[in-house]
């Protein structure tokens, strides 16, 4: 958190982030389009826990404990030994398991493109659109202090 750490795998970081924000039903619908999935074993979880959220609040830039949030985590392994992890906000155990399974499959060359087309890509587009929509709404309420000064 304190230092900028090198990102070992930006592509994986992206899909894990998309999956962590998606609902269980959305991931499930996407996976359903991929045909039968290979079997997997759950190594840990899905289990809930608390994570301390820290942020820079003051002007000094020092870390501050904002509060704890509920997080559900899960780790699965597919038959070929690839391990997928998921840490998702909230208590949706199904989402955590599906996200971990998708993470494991995304690391497999046979599955990467297929899942990118049916699961990660569409979910990323939906999330992007929602973010843009929210940003546009927020932009409409922005107060232009400079404009107020000139009208006075």
């Amino acid at each position: 958190m304190t230092a900028e750490t090198a990102d070992p795998d930006p592509a994986r970081r992206r899909w894990m982030s998309v999956l962590a924000r998606a609902g269980a039903a959305e991931i499930e619908a996407g996976l359903a389009m991929c045909g039968p999935l290979p079997p997997h074993t759950v190594i840990r979880g899905p289990e809930g826990g608390l994570v301390m959220v820290r942020g820079r609040i003051g002007g000094g830039g020092g870390p501050f404990n904002l509060g704890e949030m509920t997080v559900t985590r899960c780790t699965v392994r597919t038959a070929d030994g690839r391990v997928g992890h998921a840490y998702v906000a909230g208590r949706d155990a199904r989402q955590a398991e599906l996200a971990a399974l998708t993470d494991a499959l995304m690391q497999h060359p046979d599955w990467t493109d297929r899942l990118e087309r049916t699961v990660v890509g569409p979910l990323a587009a939906v999330q992007e659109a929602a973010k843009a929509d929210r940003a546009a709404k927020a932009a409409g309420t922005k107060v232009q202090f400079f404009a107020m000064q000139t009208t006075r």
């Binding site: 840990r44 392994r77 030994g81 391990v83």
Partner: protein, 190 residues
């Protein structure tokens, strides 16, 4: 990379509690052999050693892992979140053969609890060298047979016992069994 990752306890809460109880019983009755819940242990760990590590070690307890067991350190780190570090600062030590007990923290007279608990994997708790245990928790001296400890174990243990109330505690694991030698116990060759 993590191809060998296997699950921990089937029921993390209940199994860890049962295993904790077994370790507690073993420490309260030196030499008594207690069964622990099953775990699919990664090589070279035996199920009992894996169960005891999962039960006792967490992210707040620095762990030292015998280099001979390095193959399992990924599994241990994944499930416990423990920082594996140097021997001299370990709260727990895991080894396949008895390490030099003098190199592990023995605590201080003010805080004897700041000492290491050593988890050692042995070949058997039924065959092998025979010892006679006496001390707190034992009305009469109790027998213990261990295969897999060094031949001069009784002398090495005497040096550790002499530090009391300082000193390390020893957990012996094999198969799905655990036995314990707290620092308070006297060990004689039988």
């Amino acid at each position: 990379m993590t191809d060998t990752l296997t699950p921990g306890f089937a029921d993390p809460v209940a199994d860890a509690q049962a295993c904790f109880r077994a370790v507690l019983d073993a420490l309260a009755h030196p030499g008594r052999i207690r069964p622990v819940p099953p775990v699919e242990a990664p090589a070279p760990l035996c199920p009992a050693a894996a169960a005891v590590v999962l039960t006792l070690v967490d992210h707040e307890t620095p762990l030292w892992v015998d280099p001979a067991a390095a193959a399992a350190s990924g599994w241990i780190t994944f499930h416990t979140g423990a920082a594996t570090g140097e021997q001299a600062r370990a709260a727990f030590a895991f080894a396949l053969t008895l390490p030099d007990l003098a190199l592990l923290p023995a605590g201080s007279d003010e805080a004897p609890d700041n000492s290491a608990t050593v988890i050692v994997q042995v070949q058997s708790l039924e065959r092998g060298a025979r010892f006679e245990l006496s001390g707190p928790g034992l009305r009469e001296s109790a027998p213990l047979a261990v295969e897999g400890l060094p031949t001069d174990f009784a002398d090495r243990w005497a040096a550790n016992h002499a530090l009391f109330p300082r000193g390390v505690d020893l957990l012996l694991c094999t198969g799905n069994q655990v036995a314990a030698l707290p620092r308070s116990v006297t060990v004689r060759n039988a």
